[in-house]
Symmetry: C2
Subunit: 180 residues, 2 copies
Amino acid sequence: MGAMADMQTLCNSPSDTGGGMAGREAGLAHDEHQAVRLWLRLMTCSTQIEQVIRSKLRTQFATTLPRFDYLAQLSRFPKGLRMKTLSEYLMVTGGNITGLTDQLVAEGWVERVADDEDRRSMTVRLTRSGKKQFSTMAKAHEQWLEHLLAPLGADAARELYEQLGLLRQIVGQRMEQLAD
Amino acid sequence: MGAMADMQTLCNSPSDTGGGMAGREAGLAHDEHQAVRLWLRLMTCSTQIEQVIRSKLRTQFATTLPRFDYLAQLSRFPKGLRMKTLSEYLMVTGGNITGLTDQLVAEGWVERVADDEDRRSMTVRLTRSGKKQFSTMAKAHEQWLEHLLAPLGADAARELYEQLGLLRQIVGQRMEQLAD
DNA sequence: GAAAAATACTTTATAACTAAATTATTGATG
DNA sequence: CATCAATAATTTAGTTATAAAGTATTTTTC
């Protein structure tokens, strides 16, 4: 519980929306509702980290975040994944997967394999060379994140992780009901 | 720190894929390091909410999230903002702001105003009509988020908000040090 | 006060992403 | 078994984003 007390002390209170606030929350009014504020802050954190990772991937490996994410998912499934499944895991459209796959195939990272059981389906998997090259990137990627998030501390990280798990569940449920 | 051990971490079997895990976290192994897991979960939450808001904006107002975000920032500053400042608040490049501004000007949402004090600079501000139309969208936007996040509860929402505040600070500091 | 550096915006080229339509295949229903 | 709906991937057209280079202006430095 001591960690929490420290956190609240260090952290901006909701009223601290005055000067020097970075990102989307700049100039946010006091009476802005909590849901909107939470969403903006979530976006800010996500975008900040994203930009660090993008920048690192570009300068150190001449690649992009979408490609890395694609390869990272594939690397978890040695037998490969259907493109449809991959699009669900990455939360992007099928058309996007088609495009990324074309590129990564052309560059030798992955290969398309026809599916015997369903001829509509294509399985995509890392090539031997793709596996090898990706493992280097993945190690670096992990270290960037560890360095970036280290000051948070293990306890706060775990707590945040759990709370985001709840949020994910809630939003996931709401999305199912959503009929626009 | 054997390369072999890491390789196994990277290419773990899907057997530990807990049932029904959505998004990027699918197939994530238990021994994946905490920083990476936290980042993936943050991305998942952010993307989920983003997709709801995008979809709603499209079906109900025939507009997009980037445009909404742009207008939302402007709406907080009745006197308008310099494009440079806006690009910082929205955390996007200047070129992006130029493009969005061109469109929003063409469609009558905002207007460019030359800055007398600095002739390199342009201030952009909502038109009267832009203000009026945006206020309708903003109300709906707030309700979507309230409905979406309601099950979280006020206490958990506040706590998550504070924790993300700490994260934002930490990442912000680390970004400054970052020399790639 | 002239040269050099920094800044604000724009332009260019390209990547990533989406929604919607299309094609090919599979599954379900009468 | 024939049709109709659902599904997996692709194609197409358009939006959003980036990095890098270019232009015009301001600021700094010597």
